[in-house]
């Protein structure tokens, strides 16, 4: 590949088109990034943000058509400008099948477009057996708020991934990959990898990578598309690719707060970004320069683990209440509902309360914040959602069916007739299938920065 790994660079321009592959962006974003001399395209393909099901079931959150659309645009741009394309956390959770799913869509696009690009796949799934060896050797440590890991917890996971740093991506690029589809990677590693190859300093590079991770989110118009960041020996500059949007010192600095516990320090596999002394200066009315970011290399390289396991099977039923008499006494009504459901399930199904669980959510009243809800007062209408969990689907659905007459007719304690509530669907029960929970928030001391990951190089056609 002619994009050079041999020429020392004064600066490296990173193009981040969108916060998530499949979220979409305007073609003008790409045109402008290339016109401004982008050296690399980096885009995130995943997150834990939408919950454990995507990792637990190894299913993507995004739809194939949307991912293929974005890939078509970016693969053509990468080929035209002869610059690398790096996608991280493929398929939402970064499981091996997520990497293969994105790479398969890309292969189809490249065949249709007649593109010849050398593709690397980096797999990040971890085996419980290997991790148990690390655990017994004392090389796995919990991150707050979780405690010590057990071998049983590792064994219970349906999928475990390790969040790679830049090193496996660097290795793939240096092996000649023009396109990298990485499994689970830190959001920052995909943007940091290429500037680090080109010799840019770690402090500004990792800080830039955090700021561009969500595309246009660090601008005054988060919906307007991507950003271009230029890293050099002293710092980095950033500008939006939509000419109507702006980066301001506040919009850029504020992005360090986004989805982080600590806004000044961020741990990566090989060290910690420290932006305590960073300065943000407006270069003009839409570009910002950042200096003073530091990176402290850690004594021990660590890889963060994510794992999810099956928590049960769920069935939903929901009805709705508009009757002001019931809405006026909703607290007692829902308490009665919980009590009677529990009694009936015991009587009819013979299930004790440790054999199933349910949550009764009153949407329109307090369903979102539950007991944290600060407002009071009767609502105009309320959706009553019954969510049942059990070890198998049939049991979850049976509990919901036992509850069905109550969801239709339960009066308040003061009513002497049976009301009839408003079911939204028939049948009333919706089987949700398997449900999952995250159980890992631990790091493993990695023997080398790349040893927990597997790189497969593909050939160009």
């Amino acid at each position: 590949m002619s994009t050079t790994h041999d020429r020392p660079a004064d600066s490296v321009r990173v193009f981040a088109p969108t916060g998530m592959l499949g979220a979409g962006f305007a073609e003008s974003t790409v045109e402008r990034a290339l016109a401004l001399g982008a050296d690399v395209i980096s885009v995130d393909g995943g997150s834990t943000d939408s919950g454990p099901a995507y990792l637990g079931a190894s299913k993507p959150k995004t739809t194939a058509a949307a991912v293929a659309r974005d890939l078509r645009s970016l693969l053509k741009a990468a080929a035209r400008a002869d610059i690398p394309l790096i996608v991280g956390s493929c398929g939402t959770s970064g499981t091996d099948s997520g990497v293969d799913w994105v790479a398969g869509l890309a292969a189809q696009v490249m065949a249709e477009e007649g593109l010849d690009l050398r593709v690397a796949r980096i797999y990040s799934e971890q085996s419980a057996v290997d991790l148990k060896e690390h655990l017994s050797a004392g090389r796995i440590h919990p991150l707050p708020p979780l405690g010590q890991l057990t071998a049983e917890t590792l064994q219970s996971c349906t999928h475990i991934v390790g969040a790679m740093g830049h090193e496996p991506i660097v290795e793939a690029l240096q092996s000649g990959a023009q396109v990298v589809f990485a499994g689970r990677a830190t959001d920052t590693a995909i943007a940091a990898a290429y500037p680090l190859i080109k010799g840019m300093p770690a402090g500004p590079t990792w800080h830039m990578a955090k700021i561009v991770e969500c595309g246009g989110q660090c601008t005054t118009n988060p919906r307007a598309g991507g950003v271009l960041a230029t890293v050099d020996a002293q710092g980095f500059e950033i500008e939006p690719l939509d000419t109507d949007a702006a980066c301001t010192p506040t919009s850029v600095a504020a992005h360090m707060l986004y989805e982080t516990v600590n806004p000044f320090r961020m741990r990566e596999p090989d060290g910690e970004l420290d932006v305590s002394d960073a300065t943000y200066v407006a270069l003009d009315d839409r570009r910002v320069r950042v200096e003073g970011s530091r990176f402290h290399v850690a004594e021990q390289h660590t890889i963060k683990l994510e794992g999810a396991r099956l928590s049960g099977y769920e069935t939903i039923s929901f009805s709705a209440i508009r009757d002001p008499l019931v809405l006026g006494d909703l607290g007692r009504w829902s308490a009665l509902m919980r009590t009677i459901i529990t009694e009936r399930v015991g009587q009819t199904l013979g299930l004790s309360t440790d054999e199933y669980a349910f949550d009764l959510r009153l949407y329109g009243h307090n369903a979102v914040l539950d007991e944290l809800e600060p407002e009071t007062g009767p609502p105009r209408e309320v959706a009553v959602m019954l969510l049942v969990s059990a070890a198998d689907q049939a049991t979850a659905t049976a509990v919901a069916k036992v509850a069905n007459p109550l969801m239709l007719h339960l009066p308040t304690p003061d009513m002497d007739y049976l009301p009839s509530f408003a079911f939204a669907t028939s049948p009333a029960e919706i089987e949700r299938g398997a449900a999952y929970e995250f159980v890992l928030n631990h790091v493993v001391e990695s023997p080398t920065p790349t040893s927990l990951f597997r790189i497969e190089m593909g050939e160009t056609r």
Binding site: T353, E373, P374, F438, N441
Partner: protein, 129 residues
């Protein structure tokens, strides 16, 4: 698994002392934005982006936003609450471990995106114009 018991919506005590009540205002009214979000699957983080330095001083004042106030609003342990006061941005940022596991049967806010509301309703004295 056990049956879920959900406490009824209680009238959560507001944190406004009586002395400020007549001239009080919700923090959310003095903010450009109040937001909350997951910081990974095990933490919630929220930010008060205040309009100006005067509003920021109120949000940053331990009398109104402290580890104890957050512990009370969100029913978490005060020792687990982290507060970052950032005057250069007029921002107060608050993080604490997610009390309810993400995606679990009891999780009603998968992205923790609506958890900022009790914080935004905290009442402070109206700043002088």
């Amino acid at each position: 698994m056990s049956e879920t018991t959900v406490p009824e919506a209680a009238a959560v005590e507001t944190v406004a002392p009586d002395s400020v009540a007549p001239e009080s205002v919700a923090l959310g009214e003095l903010a450009l934005e109040v937001r909350s979000k997951n910081a990974g699957p095990f933490w919630v983080t929220m930010e008060l982006f205040m309009r100006d330095a005067a509003s920021y001083r109120l949000a940053a004042d331990e009398a109104y936003v402290s580890e104890q106030v957050i512990a009370h609003l969100y029913r978490v342990d005060a020792d687990d609450v982290q507060i970052f006061r950032i005057p250069s941005l007029n921002v107060v940022k608050i993080s604490f471990p997610r009390p309810i596991s993400q995606g679990s049967l009891r999780d009603r806010d998968m992205h923790a995106g609506q958890h900022h509301v009790p914080l935004a309703l905290v009442r402070v004295p109206r700043p002088e114009a």
